[in-house]
Symmetry: C2
Subunit: 378 residues, 2 copies
């Protein structure tokens, strides 16, 4: 019997804080899930990921089905044992990456055939196979197999794509083994009526949680928030709501304000490998020459607070692995600090003030700074 | 006043075990020094390097003088504070790398002019400047500036090169500031009479310790041991003897048997980044397909013993940073285990038996295995 419950302990406006309880552990919400694409959060040991404050990580079905392979992963004891992370793991459905990373894809009502980007081998992924793969991986939270609608999309194209995703959501639900939880994914591009239809279909199928899909596809923060303003509230209030692939720290704050409970994004890890650090005063790029003799840490409280910006600048300039390691660890910690700050503020009924203060400080140094804009575009 | 003493607690044949005591800590000998070229042991936090058992690490003068620069390092508080390693650091003289890595070198009696491999900037390194740089870095053990004689070398060329190194050794001694310890470097290629002359010259100048230089240059293990058979005993028995740039685990054992106390080598770290692990049963390459479903750890006692070979194989195949990190940590740990084993065996008067058992087991699986030969060539 799968254990999955969501208890909301406090609300502040549309924002909520609470706990998802699963067999492998509790997930404090709002939650940020570090991305562990290929059975590793790049450059981090699992114990250090946990120390940053992560309750759950994400694994990518597309990558793992190709290497080491789903059946092989099951034979090896599942993803948790394989990588040494014993807390909850959410796996995506493979639907997004199969279109963005593989070659020679062919999409039909059945599913998607594609050639592996690793060795050209041919594969077919369907809602049924996606459920099977996620079960073989040993996922705690499975995602329904869907099609991430391209952006921009006409109403007609967005409708057709969303309707296919809803048929696939039903097939995912039907094929789901019952081990772990299953989340449905709302689509409908930027259109309110389509998001409403998608939500109605998903709710009628019934899922443990609901994701908002098809955002963070290039529409920009203002447009994303405009969609969230109507899309989130369409999803059942008593279930976790997960905004996929988002985002920058200020995106997270704005989305929590609109009722989102869960996030995943490569930004803290990928930015760390590119020399960027997130701070309460905005993002900074350690490659910048101005840090060459800066003996202050990025943040005194950071797990990498013992090292100076000058040292990390040196590592980044020297292309040393340790630079990527330290910045990844810092950024994951910073993201978790933002989440913890939001949880505490919501619990105290002071989220509005907290968010104002955070956003004012976070954005103050970014105005007109090119490195902030680079961060935004990543 | 610099603290530097060497106490030999036990001898077993030519092998010795003891302790070098310095202001920043004790160095248990025989000692292996991980290489931290650019102010980082690649892929490792300093605390984790220490946990593997390292008492001292090595920094490369050539790299650090170019980036971040010697004067800048002094301004930043020195290498120890910069990288966060508070125990002893030995710095090489820059003499070896200036010839192997830089462009447009020009060698005269004064020193070596060269163009930086990073930006083409022109630099001059002399014995005096080498001492100055090492002092600016804050080194605990400085190495005299020398010329590593090419291999093979005629007796005439080896003699001329060694004699220049001895003149440079005197200039190094004269320029040495007195902070930290200073080691001289024996040269003379493979020639007994030249090694004897070099040792006589160095001893007459007087150093805190003595290195055997000009080996591990392609001569092979048998020839290296043949040279060590006469070269080591020419150096003062009451001072530490350091074999530079060596080596494979079986090289270390054979050299300790011949009276060597200290080593440095990139092999455990560089091999780790290339997918290779050192074990009591020889070296293995985790990239090998035979490990794809091997659920056993590389070594149960290893600090990375919680992960299976299958997992590390997956990481190596996926070019994941974590693969390099885990194998580096394992290899550094393994090297320190070998050193600890030798120290204990010498202390117990059983080094011969220990070495026989080690070498028999270590070499047994390597016979005819190509991956062992690849390791040898690195």
């Amino acid at each position: 019997m799968t254990r999955f419950s969501f208890d909301i302990s406090a609300r502040d406006g549309a924002a909520r804080t609470g706990t998802i309880t699963m067999s492998r552990g509790e997930i404090r919400t709002p939650a940020f899930m570090p991305v562990g694409t290929a059975a590793t959060v790049k450059g981090m040991k699992p114990a250090d990921v946990r120390t940053t404050g992560a309750d759950i990580i994400l694994g990518n079905t597309y990558h793992l089905m190709l290497r080491p392979g789903a059946e092989r992963m099951a034979k090896l004891g599942g993803l948790h044992a394989f990588m040494g992370w014993d807390r909850p793991i959410l796996t995506d459905s493979g639907g997004y990456q199969v279109m963005s990373l593989s070659d020679l894809t062919k999409k039909t009502e059945t599913g998607v055939t594609f050639a592996s980007h690793l060795d050209g081998s041919r594969h077919l992924i369907t809602p049924e196979r996606s459920m099977e793969i996620q079960a073989l991986l040993g996922s705690d939270i499975h995602m329904a197999f869907d099609e991430c609608t391209g952006f921009p999309a006409t109403h007609e194209a967005a409708k057709a794509s969303m309707e296919r995703s809803m048929r696939w959501a039903q097939r995912s639900r039907d094929a789901f083994s019952g081990t772990g939880a299953l989340f449905g994914i709302q689509q409908g591009s930027m259109f309110e009526d389509l998001r409403a239809q998608s939500s109605k279909d998903l709710t009628s199928i019934g899922f443990d949680g609901y994701a908002v899909g098809g955002l963070a596809v290039g529409e920009g923060q203002a447009e994303m928030f405009r969609v969230l303003d109507f899309a989130v509230d369409m999803l059942p209030a008593d279930r976790p709501r997960y905004l996929m692939g988002v985002g920058k720290p200020d995106d997270l704050v704005g989305a929590v304000m609109r009722g989102i409970d869960m996030f995943d994004c490569v930004l803290p890890t990928r930015s760390g490998r590119n020399g960027q650090a997130f701070t309460w005063d905005g993002a900074i790029n350690l490659r910048n020459a101005k840090f060459a003799e800066d003996l202050t840490p990025i943040d005194e409280q950071s797990p990498v607070g013992q090292w100076s910006k000058a040292y990390i600048h040196h590592l980044v300039r020297s292309n040393e692995m340790l630079g990527a390691m330290l910045l990844t660890e810092h950024n994951l910690w910073f993201y978790q600090q933002v989440m913890a700050g939001m949880r505490a503020a919501i619990g105290a009924g002071a989220f509005g003030d907290w968010a104002d203060a955070f956003l004012t400080r976070y954005r103050s140094r970014c105005a007109g700074r090119s490195f902030c804009r680079r961060g935004d575009a990543e």
